[in-house]
């Protein structure tokens, strides 16, 4: 599907933006509506709302939106650098390859970071063996952009007792409380904790010309067929294209950023839909391809001038990957919850957000209740069964039939510490469908991350008990072997020796190269990073516009 405007590949376009997701889509809209000519490269196809389905088999098990599994999309995994990375069956790095990127398929849980997330290193001190650091910006600096996300992207919610200060109220009331939310809220109260409303990037009312949520329940990993989920596809890309200054070039897989003799980015090389090499001349490049793909592209763009990869004089490209660790317990209740209806989460607990030395380890996290794998039948049958039930036969069937509508999970999501050993590198032995080196994921959580996951799971089991679950069980906590949150791999900072981009997302090494996506994060937050990626994108675009207008790019 072609955009209404196309740009000549031989004439340098003002900005090439690599990636159309949470950051790329917003930056594209901001720059194009300001009159700059923009080409957005997206390796996936241009799907629209009407192309999204409720087909669990295709979406969850045939990788419909993910690009086709680990071999096709080019991913390998290992825990430690001493091991040889392999392609597992399940894609370890799960991001959507489609216009709008992972903002299309994410669950739409939408938390702001809090002030503590930006300066926790100063507050708590260093943590040995880690790259734990402060951000170069504060919550106060980012707040106006969080508010722009609220209103321009479209957020539903209500204030909670532990929220960071906000300059404007939520633009829309929250989505309705579900049975899982009621049970969490009552259990929290019984334990002396306070549950609060989950904010969503989902419209509870019509907003900015878009339709409200129909509560179909297909949020997590699915695209929204009515455009009520506030993806960049639904919320900003239409305005970008309507500007007449933005071309969305879908089915275009970038494999290299070329630099000229002055060391400036000059050309974006990519494979088109037919697999042919193409080259787009550029005045500037913004990479928003996600924490994994961005790192791979920087490393693939190595040259004599940039022998360790583009923008990588610090050696920090690809390092400090943070997934947020997770834990889950499941519980069954006497009456039907029918929690497969509506958005996944309706209540959360943020009482354990801050690190507490009394726990004996660093970390903080959030708790939510949701159907999780009991939102769809196949996932439920594969993942949702209690450990004491046979895996087949009448008892198995009876358990599925009884539990599907009566089951929920309580999920903990935690901090991840930044470590050298957790990273994205180029796989020396494997390539993806275009012939690009596979992304080699090396990851083993810090022990504190897993301790925090366990701590939250212990709270989850107490909550199930207080909520009156007839049965509850833990899912074993394993070291993280993949995820959707791709954070920290091109971190921002003031010191070029320990960061990849400056506080305005400009790379320290290449003046006309900007990087803005989850890779910019310095710390991981406590889960739900998308809102911060979007706020960073609004802020980055603001400063890029100023610099470009002043001729300083």
């Amino acid at each position: 599907m072609a955009s209404s405007v196309t740009f000549d590949m031989r004439q340098p376009v003002d900005f090439a933006i690599i990636g159309s997701g949470s950051a790329g889509g917003i930056i594209a809209k901001e720059l194009s509506t300001a009159g700059f000519n923009v080409v957005v490269f997206e390796q996936g196809p241009y799907r629209k709302a009407q192309d999204f389905t409720h087909d669990e088999y295709s979406v969850l098990f045939n990788s419909e939106l993910l690009g086709g599994g680990p071999r096709i999309s080019g991913q390998t995994f290992r825990q430690y650098a001493s091991e040889t990375a392999e392609s597992p069956v399940e894609q370890p790095i799960r991001y959507a390859q489609t216009v709008g990127g992972s903002s299309v398929h994410f669950t739409a849980n939408f938390w702001r970071l809090r002030p503590v997330d930006f300066n926790e290193r100063s507050l708590l001190g260093s943590i040995s063996g880690t790259n734990f650091a402060d951000w170069p910006i504060s919550y106060e600096e980012l707040e106006p952009y969080y508010t722009r996300v609220d209103w321009e992207i479209g957020i539903s919610g209500a204030p909670g007792p532990y929220d960071a200060p906000r300059s404007k109220p939520f633009p829309m009331p929250p989505l309705p409380i579900k049975s899982s939310g009621v049970l969490l809220e009552k259990a929290a109260k019984a334990l002396g904790l306070q549950a609060q409303v989950e904010p969503h990037a989902i419209l509870s009312q019509p907003h900015n010309g878009r339709a409200a949520c129909i509560k179909c329940g297909y949020c997590m990993f699915f695209g929204c067929e009515v455009g009520a989920k506030s993806s960049t596809l639904a919320a900003v890309i239409p305005a970008a294209e309507a500007s007449g200054h933005c071309e969305i070039r879908a089915d275009s897989a970038v494999f290299r950023i070329e630099t000229d003799e002055k060391g400036r980015a000059s050309e974006v090389l990519y494979y088109d839909a037919d697999g042919n090499e193409q080259a787009q001349k550029v005045k500037a490049v913004i990479v928003s391809a996600n924490g994994a793909e961005t790192s791979r592209l920087m490393l693939m763009s190595a040259s004599e001038r940039h022998p360790d990869g583009l923008a990588n004089s610090s050696g920090f490209v690809g390092r400090n990957l943070m997934f947020n660790a997770h834990s889950a317990g499941d519980g069954v209740f006497e009456q039907p919850l029918n929690d497969y209806k509506g958005a996944q989460v309706s209540r959360i607990i943020h009482e354990f957000y801050e690190s507490d030395e009394k726990r004996g380890f660093y970390g903080g996290g959030g708790i939510d209740s949701r159907p999780l794998w009991s939102a769809t039948p196949i996932f439920h049958a594969l993942m949702g069964m209690p450990p004491d039930v046979p895996r087949w036969g009448k008892a198995f069937k009876d358990e599925i039939a009884h539990n599907f509508t009566r089951q929920m999970s309580i999920v903990g999501s935690t901090t991840s510490l930044a470590l050298d050993r957790n990273n994205i590198t180029l796989d020396p032995a494997n390539t993806d469908q275009w012939g690009r080196p596979s992304m080699r994921l090396t990851y083993r959580d810090h022990d504190d991350d897993l301790a925090m996951a366990k701590f939250l799971q212990d709270r989850a089991m107490e909550l199930f008990d207080a909520a009156g679950a007839t049965k509850a069980w833990r899912h074993p906590i394993h070291p993280t072997d993949g995820g959707e949150h791709l954070l920290g791999t091109c971190r921002m900072g003031d010191d070029p020796s320990t960061s990849v981009v400056d506080r305005y997302h400009r790379s320290h090494d290449v003046p006309n190269l900007f990087i803005c996506d989850g890779s910019s994060f310095v710390t991981s937050g406590r889960g739900q990073p998308t809102m911060t990626i979007m706020a960073l994108a609004f802020r980055a675009a603001h400063h890029i516009k100023i610099a470009a207008s002043a001729g300083e790019i």
């Binding site: 597992p88 129909i214 509560k215 039907p336 439920h380 049958a381």
Partner: protein, 203 residues
Amino acid sequence: MVTAMKKLRPVSRRRFLKSSGALTGASLLRISAPSLVAITQAACTAKDEAAAFNILGVQEAADFAAIAARIIPTTETPGATEAGVIYFFDNAFAADMSWALENMRAGLASLNATLAANYANKSHFSDLDEMDQDAVLSANETTDFFELCWLTTIFGFFSMSKYGGNKDHVAWDLIGFEGHHGAWEYPFGYYDAEYAKELSHGE
């Protein structure tokens, strides 16, 4: 559509299921009692409809159908047989899961080859009665072949009818999933309905 498991051997897929916790219950299996309601042999259904198969032969279809019927048996409610899971097998092994066809055929052949030693004159799984079928599956429960049968049965039972199984949404009806409808009104379940009542009484 390309499948995530297309190019991988079952052993790798099992590692996935193990790591994701799906195999947790394996060691705790107990053989279920014979079902209370007499059912038509899955094999018969498969044989009657044999002309409709894309890739499966009549005998192997009967055996796969019989295996699926033990994984999700017909009881007072419909099972894999009524859902037509064998047609999902047939469609999947002809397309999405064609990578697995060879392994499935080899696995079935090995399983059938072991029968004669314990069951006189029986050379096909579908020839056994249900109790014997359950005993054979229990003995094979840790094999890659069983894992793949198990996974395919669940896919076939619960996926959209367009893939061949879940005929008339019988699987979704069984679990109370109204997934073929598209939109919902609050309240969704018992506890949120009660909560709404409490709120309105409090006003």
